[in-house]
Every structure is written in structure tokens, then in C-alpha cells.
């Protein structure tokens, strides 16, 4: 299995993600500049966190028009796992690969802290090795993480079991229904605001995020 971590101008969690995949999860991984990305060469792709294109106009919107995203769409159609972390999640919603929008945090501040999250479903490419209802710890670091959808879409997400993670206790950004991460209907595309790559080694405070990457390796095995 070969994974791509896609690098946009302004990505800054790309090397952390690459390190975790190569050195902790031990899977063959390439760091790929977005213009050079060819989905047919990979079995899964990760859109890392950061500030692609300086968050100009709206976080994620300019990267959503990168040719890499057409390739990502094709991979998604082939049921390959796609993960968007933080800015990667913003890129996925702005590409319409996931529903919704990520608005400015309610507190109007950049929030960087550890959060406790509840795994809401085992049924996704990135949560299948967790237990439903399990609490895990991962940090967040964002300014635009307030997930928003209109009521009708929210009902649909709940009905289809597409909410994969919710904040437990304090809701750090005002996200609707405490949503921290969702998946698409086909369950192979996942976007989340917390950073699993920053919680994959005990020395960093938690390795709860590691299973997210290990789940990806087991998708449709």
C-alpha cells in the first residue's frame, strides 16, 4: 500500500504526517507537491493541516481548485481512503467532497489545545479500528473549525451515521451538534478538525490518533 501526503503552498503539518506514516505506522509514503500529484500511483491520500494559500478568500477554497483535487475525486470514486486533517478538512468541504462549511470559531480566537472526542461510528475508512462510544484524545489548532450545516443536512448526516467524531465536554469552536469530524456516504472520505498526526506517539501525550492511520491500511482488506 502506498500513501500520498499532498503538499500545498502553506501546508505546515505535512512533515508531521509524513513522519507518523513512515516512522510510526511504517507504511510506504510519499510527500507530493500538489501540482505533481497523480492519484493512480497511490492507494490512499492525506490532505494535511496548515494554511494553504494563506487562507485567502476562505480557508481551503483556493486549494480546492488545485488540479490535485480532480485526482482526489477520482480516487474517492474508486473507493480509496481520503483523509483531510484541519485545513485538509476545509479543502474537502470547499471541494464539495464532504458537505457543510467550516466557519470562524465562535470565540473569535485561534484555539490550540487538547480535546476529548467521542468516536461515533466504527464504520469509516479511518475509524474502523476504534470502538463506537470510545473517548480519545487529540489536539486541535485552528481558527475556522466551527462546522456548520443547515438542519436538513444535519438530519441526513445523523440518519446516515456520517458523524464520526464529536467533542466531549467543552465544544471548542461552536461546531453544530459538537461535530469534530464527518465522512461521506460511501465512508471512504473523512474530514476532521483534530490532528491525529500530533497524537500518534505516547511521548507527545497520546497515541490515540495512530489508529486512524492504521484503520486506513485495513480499509476493504
Amino acid at each position: 500500500m502506498k500513501i500520498a501526503v499532498i503538499q500545498f503552498p502553506g501546508s505546515n503539518c505535512d512533515l508531521d504526517t509524513l513522519h507518523v506514516l513512515r516512522d510510526v505506522v511504517r507504511v510506504d509514503t510519499d510527500l507530493v507537491w500538489h501540482k505533481d500529484f497523480r492519484g493512480q500511483n497511490y492507494d490512499a491520500a492525506i490532505l494535511p493541516g496548515g494554511f494553504s494559500y494563506g487562507d485567502h478568500l476562505r480557508a481551503g477554497i483556493i486549494a480546492a481548485y488545485s488540479p490535485a483535487m480532480a485526482s482526489i475525486k477520482k480516487m474517492a470514486d474508486e473507493n480509496k481512503p481520503i483523509l483531510g486533517i484541519c485545513n485538509g478538512f476545509q479543502i474537502l468541504v470547499e471541494s464539495s467532497l464532504l458537505p457543510g462549511a467550516l466557519l470562524r470559531n465562535s470565540c473569535l480566537k485561534f484555539v490550540c489545545k487538547w480535546t476529548t472526542l467521542k468516536v461515533e461510528t466504527e464504520s469509516s475508512a479511518f475509524t474502523q479500528l476504534y470502538k463506537k462510544g470510545q473517548n480519545i484524545r487529540m489536539p486541535i489548532a485552528h481558527n475556522e473549525g466551527r462546522y456548520f450545516v443547515e438542519e436538513e443536512t444535519l438530519e441526513e448526516l445523523r440518519r446516515n451515521d456520517q458523524v464520526i467524531l464529536r467533542y466531549v465536554g467543552e465544544n471548542p469552536n461552536g461546531a453544530i451538534d459538537d461535530i469534530a469530524g464527518i465522512c461521506n456516504k460511501e465512508r471512504n472520505i473523512v474530514g476532521l478538525m483534530p490532528h491525529p498526526e500530533r497524537a500518534s506517539e505516547i511521548i507527545l501525550g497520546s497515541n490515540d490518533g495512530k489508529r486512524m492511520f492504521e484503520s486506513m491500511l485495513n480499509w476493504h482488506k
Binding site: 478568500l57 477554497i61 468541504v93 470547499e94 462549511a101 466557519l103 473569535l108 456548520f148
Partner: protein, 111 residues
């Protein structure tokens, strides 16, 4: 004005209202305003109202909604064409996210 399907396109009385007689393309000043839909809370607007306006004695202010303004110069043969180009571009490039935002296009004049 609200939402993706009901784009509001408002003309300005000072703006040009006819095609160029000789086919000379004109530069139109177009303002694109993007803001949160009423269903999406606007904490920045609320903070400006409560912590700045109300605290400074402007109790008359009842609501504040913030947004983003793009001032765009568009080359076109007529005001209608400039509006249409701006409308198509906003949808094509998702200048606003239709889930959470409304988008308003106004012609402000020509150069």
C-alpha cells in the same frame, strides 16, 4: 439575496445602463459581498455590537452582521454582461460557500 439559488443582483442608478454603441469594452466596478446566512451565527458581528457599540453608548444598534467585500473590475460590453460574468464567476469558483453564505453582487459604476 439569501442562498445559492436566489442570487441578488442589484444595479446602481449611477452605473452605466446601456451597451457601448461602438463595441468598446468598458471596465465596470463590481462589488461582491459575502456574508453568513441568518441561520449561521456571526460571533464577530455580535462582539462588535455588544463589546464596542453598546459599551460605547450606541444602544440604538440592534444587530451587526459582518461579511467580506470584494471590489472587482470587470471588462464587459454592458452592465448586464458585467453582472452576468460576476454571477457566473461567483458560482463557478465558489466565491461563497452556498451552505453557509449568501452572496450579493452590485454594479457600482464604471471607469
Amino acid at each position: 439575496m439569501i442562498g445559492s439559488k436566489s442570487f441578488h443582483v442589484a444595479g446602481n442608478s449611477h452605473a452605466a445602463n446601456s451597451s457601448s454603441q461602438f463595441g468598446v469594452r468598458i471596465m465596470y466596478l463590481v462589488e461582491i459581498v459575502v456574508g453568513n446566512k441568518p441561520q449561521a451565527k456571526d460571533p464577530e458581528g455580535q462582539t462588535i455590537m455588544k463589546d464596542l457599540m453598546h459599551k460605547s453608548g450606541y444602544d440604538c444598534v440592534r444587530d451587526v452582521r459582518t461579511g467580506k467585500l470584494l471590489k472587482v473590475q470587470i471588462e464587459a460590453n454592458s452592465e448586464e454582461e458585467a453582472k452576468q460574468k460576476a454571477f457566473d464567476m461567483c458560482n463557478d469558483l465558489r466565491i461563497y460557500n452556498p451552505v453557509a453564505h449568501y452572496c450579493k453582487i452590485e454594479i457600482r459604476g464604471k471607469t
